[in-house]
Amino acid sequence: MLYAIVFLPLLGALIAGFFGRLLGDRGAQVVTCGFMLVSMVLGWIAFQDVALAGNARTVELFTWLSSGDLQASWALKFDTLTAVMVIVVTTVSAMVHVYSIGYMSHDHSIPRFMAYLSFFTFAMLMLVTADNLIQMFFGWEGVGVASYLLIGFWFHKPTANAAAIKAFLVNRVGDFGFALGIFGTFLLFDTIHLDTIFQMVASKQNVSISFLGGEFHALTVLCLLLFIGAMGKSAQLGLHTWLPDAMEGPTPVSALIHAATMVTAGVFMVARLSPMMEYSETALAVITIVGAATAFFAATIGMTQTDIKRVIAYSTCSQLGYMFFALGVSAYSAAIFHLMTHAFFKALLFLGAGSVIHAMSDEQDMRKMGGIYRKIPFTYAMMWIGSLALAGVPFFAGFYSKDMILEAAYAAQSNLGYFAFWMGIAAALMTAFYSWRLLIVTFHGSPRASAEVMSHVHESPLVMTIPLLVLAVGAVFAGWLGYNTFVGDGMDAFWGSAILVLEGHNTVKAAHHVPTWVKLLPIFVGIAGIALAYWIYMLRPGTADKIVAAFRPVCSFFLNKWYFDELYDWLFVRPALRLGRIFWKTGDGDIIDGYGPDGVSAAARFLAGRAAVLQSGYVYHYAFAMLIGVVVILSWYLIFHGG
């Protein structure tokens, strides 16, 4: 069963990828969706067995590497953490697969798309089931490749190609840290097998390592390096720039990869390595700061964007920030809980946005929408549910998990915890605000699209709305159902040994005993944000422009994404291009080509011309050449060997 969960998507990808032409569009869709749905059902059964019944286990497939101390097998490690990830991945993936049948129906290369989606799912499952760091890295890179392929799926769009390359390159920075972290781990522990490492961590907690010329606490260095990897994949502040651009990909891709699963890989990785992270206060502090800053920063940008998918993308970035500062305050279970609920409602929002885009004839700019809620009531309702969950309105999924994170941050009782808490509260206000801004601008007001587009506005087909419904069920009930098990009384039994929290770090337990105002504040700011959005965009249209005019510098600072792209462009891209140009023009072109291939071939051509001149056709020239030859050889001989 466990094999089937992981390898059915691969099988689907191979069949759709290599025999797509044979199967046709319909065949490829049936194969990949069918396998994916089976995988999803099995995933839920496995969750029941592994997480709820407590049968954590590892299945070894076969040895992959065996070189001295470096031993790695292909293995499927199923514990509670993996099981949670597996249901998230398989469920969202299955929904996205089905949804794509409708969304991509006008595309020319459907089998390729389905194959990529299935391949992505396989790689993601490899990542979450890894029992050693190398297999995790394999999955990590696999999802990176799939993400690259899917962002650039419409390769005829230059922007899509640029976005795909950007995503790949920025991730490469993170992957570099991850790879260094793996090397360092092997150096320190002589193994990359996770369970073995975890057993040894306590004995290595005082070891220092020399890195970049200085002596550092070994575990801190390793954890920070690994966290850099997580930052890249999960688009944390500094390495987040690829995520908004990744919205160039088809919307189902955004929902699956850039909201629900791949971007949470970093969260998963830190949670998975919790036994290492726990021993480094510094690393945890860094994670907290980065996460809190990202949550705040991305929310500010989300308020100003006009592209419907980019708003949700920044929202994702912001929510990932929440998860990270939860990790930073050792509330791993809360982070994973939020990961799960977020996967449902964010996928729901993305697919809902996709449905809107589909209805609006591929228009993504919210300024050109408006007044369509009557025409697509179902989508409208779904977006409402998603937004309610995202804003943390009570009894929707986001309420449980987000509040838990904020309470845990407060319960950490440290300056960092309070910093994270207040950042999170600010972000929650903004989250609610931009969510309702999106809803109101998109669905209400007077139509701003052309009459022709408006006449085409239609509700999406069943194949797209049913996945929305399934995800909506998750967005409504996931928090309520999971609260007790994930972060409540049942958590110890539930998580087992999958995550480790040291004594004194147990913020999740402590979170249940925070002051009442801490529990109520998130709800209050959520509702305040919603009210604010209503006031500005619904009741007093025009206020928005006034505010923008009044705070022009701040607004344009947010609108331009804090000038991160410009900064990177100036700091890295341009110097790299300039350096590349020097190497290309001068180094390669003038020096290597000039004296190398070009020079040699020019010399060869020149000599060939001379040789042709020698071949004059006159017999006496030829005879002369022969005699000269003899004379030269003979004299050379006599001079050097005259002896």
Binding site: L614, Y622, M626, V632, I633, L634, Y637, G642
Partner: protein
């Protein structure tokens, strides 16, 4: 009073048979000649050559005691190997000529017979065990080839080519004779065995060195090594294509084997002296062969430079001066035979509206009109360029390996570089075949014998690496005989 005993003749059975067959065929030709009907003599020649090859294998092996004809005529594994290659090359050349000669209505019965006599000369060259026998063999070969080169008397280009070849050949013969007389004068013997005992490398008289240089020059002319190569492009281009095919193969093999035998045998003691001369000639040939071919537009001219280059590579093995080198040269010549015959079969299949064409540009679009022929040519060209795993790669690999074994690193490096430059023009032909558009396609009909030859040689070139043992083992045995007596 002199008592005359009949010389030992059995080892020379093949040559004797060929000579008799040649005269018989001449008679047959004279008496049955009807307007341009020479196919009878051609087929007779082919059969005679194949029979001779059989005789070589049966009788041409090593003999106990004194070699045939009072020591003038040596036989052994080496000569067997070389002679079989020569006979096969010559026979295939005649086979390829039949249809061409008919089409170009230069159908003279003398042509196959002349080839046959030239072949006898080559066989004698290979077996020569005495300077006089050597000279006799070379002259028999050369005189026949001069005539063959201008067999089309009504063609200006062919007669010009023949005349040039003759004049320059006469110069080289003169050098050779001078060399022989100098060597005889300073050593007192013409016998190879005698020379080998006299020339030990200690206190070699200067005159002998001069003789040696002249000898090498004379022989270098025959294999068209630089700077004695000037005749080659003109003759290759001017002569009828089957004649060029013959020139490119059989005499080259004979002359290279002759150089190998003389250098390793009688002059083996002077290796320190001739090694540098051969190295120099080898480098010059490789470099010129690679560079001068770049600008050629005529396929036959290109093949001339190609063969100059190949001879340079073969000389690398000679320069090595060891058993591995000799073996490498023999392997090289065997593979060279196959690649060249195949390439000429392609050239001989290039016709437009019934007329033979020979420019590189005429190959344009070959891939579309004759995919199999293009594929065969691709194999030959890649093989000649020395691309693994084709046969041509191994032939080069063996000679370079031998050179490195002998410590001639510079020579090996230059050889590799020259083969890189040379790869350019081979690959350009492939580019023309596969990527250029044809103005007018070549005629679609390709005769059966050409298809057989092309197919067989292409398969050999392609699959040599699977079963190299027959050639390599035979060459090893042949090379060994050079060093044991």
């Amino acid at each position: 009073m002199m008592t005359t005993t009949l010389p030992v003749m059995m080892p020379a059975m093949a040559e004797i048979f060929l000579a008799a067959a040649g005269m018989a065929l001449l008679m047959y030709g004279v008496f049955t000649q009807r307007d341009g009907q020479s196919e009878g003599t051609a087929w007779g020649t082919i059969v005679a050559m194949l029979v001779a090859a059989g005789l070589v294998i049966i009788y041409g092996g090593p003999v106990a005691g004194e070699p045939a004809f009072y020591g003038q005529f040596a036989t052994g594994h080496f000569t067997q190997f070389a002679k079989v290659l020569i006979l096969v090359g010559a026979a295939v050349a005649v086979w390829m000529s039949v249809r061409y000669m008919r089409a170009e209505s230069s159908n003279r019965f003398e042509f196959p017979v002349l080839v046959l006599f030239a072949t006898i000369g080559m066989l004698v060259m290979v077996s020569a065990n005495d300077l006089i026998a050597l000279y006799m063999g070379i002259e028999l070969q050369s005189l026949s080839l001069y005539v063959i080169a201008s067999i089309r008397r009504d063609s200006l280009r062919a007669t010009e080519a023949g005349l040039k070849y003759f004049v320059l050949g006469a110069v080289s013969s003169g050098m050779l004779l001078y060399a022989c007389s100098l060597i005889y004068g300073f050593s007192g013997t013409t016998q190879f065995a005698g020379l080998a005992t006299v020339l030990t490398g200690e206190a070699t008289p200067l005159g002998l060195i001069v003789g040696l240089v002249f000898l090498i020059s004379g022989l270098a002319f025959k294999i068209s090594a630089v700077p004695f190569h000037m005749w080659t492009p003109d003759v290759y281009e001017g002569a009828p294509t089957p004649v060029t095919a013959l020139f490119a193969v059989a005499p080259k093999i004979a002359a290279v084997c002759l150089i190998l035998r003389t250098m390793m045998g009688p002059f083996g003691g002077l290796i320190a002296d001739w090694q540098q001369v051969i190295t120099l000639i080898s480098i010059a040939s490789m470099v010129l062969g690679a560079i001068a071919a770049i600008q050629q537009t005529n396929l036959k001219r290109l093949m001339a430079y190609s063969s100059i280059g190949h001879m340079g590579f073969a000389l690398v093995g000679v320069a090595a001066g060891n058993q591995a080198g000799a073996q490498a040269v023999l392997i090289y010549m065997a593979i060279y035979l196959f690649m060249n015959v195949g390439t000429f079969a392609v050239i001989l299949s290039m016709r437009k509206e019934g007329r033979y064409v020979e420019n590189i540009a005429d190959l344009a679009g070959l891939n579309k009109s004759h995919p199999l022929m293009a594929l065969a040519m691709l194999i030959f060209m890649f093989s000649m360029a020395g691309i693994p795993p084709l046969a041509g790669f191994f032939s080069k690999w063996y000679v370079f390996f031998a050179a490195i074994e002998a410590g001639l690193f510079g020579l090996a490096v230059i050889g590799v570089l020259a083969s890189v430059v040379g790869a350019f023009y081979y690959i350009r032909i492939i580019k023309v075949m596969y990527f250029d558009e044809a103005e007018a396609p070549l005629d679609s009909k390709i005769s059966r014998e050409m298809r057989i030859i092309m197919g067989f040689t292409a398969v050999v070139s392609l699959l040599f690496f699977i079963l190299p043992a027959p050639v390599v083992d035979q060459a090893a045995a042949a090379a060994q005989t050079l060093f044991t007596n």
